[in-house]
């Protein structure tokens, strides 16, 4: 006890927050930049000077001084710990970002990824000394093929968008091999798609033909047939789609696409809803990336690293990029060169996101066939529970029907309140929640896309639902102040994003005012 018999009493505290000398507000601390904390002539790492030696740098030795601050270890730890406290995280609360899949990150997976036999292995070690690493690649590949019912998998793509690029390159290679490279130059993309889909198609020289989603939020066979033509190379379709709906006509779409001589690329960002329930290979998919950081819970890390292996049908398998792993006799070997193969080339140096493979495999082994299926079911159950509990206070764009792992609302219910989706999202921050995905998908006005995942307890979901209902009631009662000033209980109030874009300041310079 350090209060010496004088416990604090709430009523003696001032009602209004006071300005403080430091700018800190108790545990909510301001933190300067490393360039303002560290000294430019100091270091926090003890390194012995080498014995005198004859330099071999010749005329190439650096001439100008490097200017980087060094922090003593306690300074560094304090700096980063203070910064970390200004971040929301899945470990601290529900993170219902639709399409992003913020589920629990098991710490076992972190521990496994740090085993020296995985973390401390060089990508170019003699293959005879890296058999364990290749075994991980093989085991994860096999698991992905079982779950998807596909024929081959390219493991090297570094993230979801990189996987899209990989799949589309395989498609382009297959089309060129058929001698149709000059004629098939169009990719069909629904207007509900992730922005990465059209960007990927454009990157390899394809033009994009948009297809509209129907009134019910899904793409119809008719809409696809209407857009199909001899110039179409592929369709890129997300399933379950970005509205949180299973594309009911997917088999018919796949048939129509194949009849027209085109390929079916499936954006697998939402694969987590259907693992153990259906297999993309049975639905007619030719290629699909799997975001290991979504479905298999490798940590998002504040924006990466991700991992985006691509499963492929037998029609595309010959064109898959190098490297890949092959078992010969008892040993595993790496195929690293395209010579003598139809492979379209290489996506990146080395062999892909090994550290993420270990985490994903550890997640898969922990869950097993039963746990993976249960996880899909719980994710879908939780999303529908949120949907059923909020339906009457918010508005669903496609009517009262079940969703998959995420539930989509629009902003019609905010009409006449003078409030926007953004206001609603910012008010959630004051309640201690990370907002849902907002303004995506683009086809729904003021979209709010909520993905609770399988990681939330019922109590957590119930409190979240009650909070959103309370906010909705306040919005409809036109208590605008609670929304338009929000957030007030966060490390920062709303930011001037226009200024950031108009006068970009992208690095620290000495002349800047502190």
């Amino acid at each position: 006890m350090n209060v010496q018999g004088r416990p604090t009493r709430p009523e003696t505290a001032a009602a209004q927050p006071r300005e403080t000398f430091t700018g800190n507000r108790g545990l909510d601390m301001e933190e300067a930049l490393i360039f303002e904390i560290g000294r430019f002539d100091a270091t926090g790492v003890d390194i012995d000077e080498p014995a005198p030696f004859q330099s071999k740098l010749g005329p190439h030795a650096r001439q100008s001084a490097l200017r980087l601050p060094g922090l003593a270890e306690p300074e560094a730890i304090r700096h980063y710990v203070r910064l970390s406290r200004n971040n929301y995280s899945i470990d601290a609360g529900i993170y219902p970002l639709g399409s992003c899949t913020m589920k629990h990150n098991p710490r076992l997976n972190e521990k496994m990824a740090r085993l020296p036999g995985f973390a401390d292995v060089h990508p170019l070690q003699p293959v005879s000394t890296a058999q364990g690493a290749l075994e991980i690649v093989e085991a994860l590949s096999n698991a992905l093929l079982i779950m998807t019912g596909m024929d081959a998998v390219a493991m090297s793509p570094k993230a979801g968008a990189h996987g899209e690029l990989c799949g589309m390159m395989a498609i382009k290679a297959a089309i060129e091999a058929r001698g149709e490279g000059e004629t098939r130059r169009v990719v069909l993309v629904p207007d509900s798609a992730h922005g990465t889909n059209p960007a990927t198609a454009a990157l390899i020289g394809y033009s994009v033909r948009s297809i509209p989603a129907g009134e019910d939020g899904i793409v119809s066979v008719e809409a696809v047939r209407a857009a199909l033509a001899p110039d179409v190379a592929a369709i890129m379709l997300t399933n379950p789609n970005t509205c949180g709906l299973f594309e009911r006509e997917i088999v018919g779409i796949a048939d129509a696409v194949h009849e027209a001589g085109a390929y079916f690329y499936c954006d697998g960002a939402n694969f987590n809803a259907i693992v153990g329930k259906t297999r993309p290979g049975d639905l007619g998919v030719d290629a699909m990336h799997i975001n290991l950081h979504k479905t298999f819970s490798t940590p998002h890390g504040g924006g990466g690293p991700g991992a985006g292996p691509v499963v492929m049908s037998s029609r595309l398998a010959p064109y898959a990029p190098v490297p890949f792993v092959k078992r010969e006799g008892g040993a595993l070997r790496l195929v690293e060169h395209t010579q003598g193969r139809e492979s379209f080339g290489r996506m990146c140096a080395f062999h892909g996101q090994m550290g993420m493979f270990v985490r994903a495999l550890s997640f898969i082994l922990s869950h097993g066939a039963d746990g993976l299926r249960q996880a899909s079911e719980d994710a879908v159950l939780s999303a529908n529970y949120v949907r059923a509990s909020l339906n009457e206070v918010m508005s669903a764009p496609f009517g009262d029907r079940p969703c998959m792992h995420e539930v989509l609302f629009d902003d019609r219910w905010l009409k006449d309140t003078g409030l926007t989706t953004l206001d609603f999202a910012k008010a959630m921050i004051d309640e201690g929640y990370h907002p849902m995905t907002v303004y995506f998908p683009l086809i729904v006005h003021g979209a709010m896309l909520i993905e609770p995942t399988e990681s939330e307890s019922k109590a957590s979901l119930d409190l979240f639902i009650m909070t959103l209902r309370d906010l909705a009631t306040a919005a409809k009662a036109e208590k605008r102040e609670r929304f338009q000033s929000a957030p007030v209980h966060a490390p920062r109030r709303r930011l001037d994003e226009t200024r950031a874009a108009r006068q970009p300041v992208l690095s620290w310079t000495r002349s800047q005012p502190a």
Partner: protein
């Protein structure tokens, strides 16, 4: 299942609230004949202990670099990483947060990215850097595409000293996009004539320094030749520590500097995840790929950070975006940034000096063995050694003797006539005993 909080009675209650009989009703949109009941061939879930046992057994079937004298680089470098780095990146708030789309509750990540960008700009001698790319090789490919946009041309000249897998990534992109590429022959001694390969359609010249074979290169004349033709110089590096020893891309008039950042803060990880560094001149920023953190103020006038210039990016511009990239390599960038903020310029320069000293010592020791030749006149921490027998056999034989001795050039450049060459690297982690063991094993094998 230990990761799933719901129990059977709660699931029942939730189904009731939803108003359906059973969970299958929620999957009714999946065509009935396409539903599966089970993942055949996949085992059931395992306890934490059982998974740990299985994974540890697999890990035991690789040789960990730290368990042997280790001299392999070629784009990935084994470094001693202060314990602070791995502790801090495992903070929940860094590890389990998403891309900072809600800046009011993501200032930690955003300030880290702003600091990271400033560090990368300083290290490369450039004006602006982005918030990271997947790795060095994909950063290199993106730099080529950016040069095409800036110059409105579509031809790239690729130095024979560029890491072969980086060159393969560029070649794949170029082939797929229908762009031109001129790839020069492998260049052991940095003597290639790049200027002659530049023409009016060339958008960029891509040169690595220190190059794949360890040679530091003077990029200034190459920059001049490129600029004279209206083309850009893309300077590539594969070890960020080298930039503390050799002249920076900025000093040598590069227009874009890209490289691998793994060598600071990040483990070898059998090739990933790593962190791509990407920097350029301020005037080019709007054609840059990837995320950017910028400074601004909040409603109370407090300094704050936010993702900015996102009108370049795919989620806004879709098919007109500068790149399809969405994810960066946030946590690896954090590890890089923490390691570098501990080191500071003083520590980084000393670290570079130790790397260089160790490599010089190693080169002296190995070249003293009869019939062993070190090719490089100049090098930082990596050089090419030539022996009378095939290098691929050498590295296997060395591995059999408990030494990881380097990369046979033929593994990445088969058929280039360099089968007797091995690329040897040394970092601060090597001891005198390691070098003695290498020399002993090599002499023994050549005997």
């Amino acid at each position: 299942m230990r990761y799933l909080p719901l129990d059977a009675s709660e699931r029942e209650a939730m189904l009731t609230r939803i108003g359906v009989q059973d969970i299958e009703a929620l999957f009714a949109d999946i065509p009935a004949d396409k539903r599966i009941e089970d993942l055949l061939d996949m085992p059931l879930g395992k306890s934490e202990m059982a998974v740990e046992r299985a994974m540890t057994a697999i890990a035991g079937r690789s040789v960990a670099a730290g368990s042997v004298p280790f001299f392999l680089g070629a784009g990935a470098y084994r470094r001693h990483i202060p314990a602070t780095v791995d502790h801090l990146i495992q903070r929940s708030e860094f590890l389990t947060s998403y891309t900072p789309y809600q800046p009011e509750i993501a200032q930690g990540t955003l300030q880290v990215l702003f600091e990271f960008q400033t560090q990368v700009a300083a290290l490369t001698g450039m004006e602006v850097a982005n918030a990271s790319m997947y790795d060095g090789s994909t950063a290199c490919g993106e730099a080529m595409l950016m040069a095409h946009r800036l110059t409105r041309r579509n031809g790239a000249v690729i130095s024979g000293g560029l890491h072969p897998q980086y060159a393969d990534v560029c070649a794949t992109l170029a082939h797929m996009a229908g762009d031109r590429i001129a790839r020069l022959a492998p260049d052991l001694k940095a003597s290639e004539g790049i200027a002659a390969a530049i023409d009016a359609e060339t958008s960029c010249v891509i040169v690595q320094s220190p190059d794949f074979f360890g040679n530091p290169r003077d990029l200034t004349p190459i920059a001049e030749a490129a600029h004279a033709h209206g083309a850009l110089l893309i300077a590539v590096f594969t070890d960020p520590v080298a930039l503390a020893a050799v002249r920076s891309p900025g000093e040598m008039s590069a227009d874009i500097a890209v490289g691998e950042g793994q060598g600071l803060g990040n483990a070898l990880n059998f090739g990933g995840p790593y962190v791509g560094l990407f920097a350029t001149r301020a005037k080019n920023v709007r054609q840059m790929p990837g995320r950017l953190a910028g400074e601004t103020v909040d409603a109370e006038g407090r300094r704050s950070f936010v993702l900015t210039l996102s009108t370049r990016e795919q989620h806004i511009r879709r098919e007109k975006a500068t790149s399809n990239i969405c994810t960066n390599s946030g946590l690896c960038a954090l590890a890089f940034s923490i390691h570098l903020s501990l080191l500071g310029a003083v520590g980084l320069e000393r670290l570079a000096k130790v790397n260089h000293a160790n490599a010089v010592e190693l080169a002296d020791r190995l070249s003293a063995i009869p019939s062993v030749e070190v090719i490089n006149t100049h090098f930082f921490n990596e050089f090419v050694m030539r022996t009378p027998r095939p290098a691929a056999e050498l590295t296997e034989a060395l591995a059999g003797r408990g030494v990881i001795g380097g990369l046979p050039v033929s593994r990445l450049l088969p058929g280039a006539g360099l089968d007797d060459c091995i690329i040897v690297a040394s970092t601060e982690t090597n001891t005198d005993d390691d070098r003695a063991a290498y020399a002993r094993a090599l002499a023994d094998w050549l005997r």
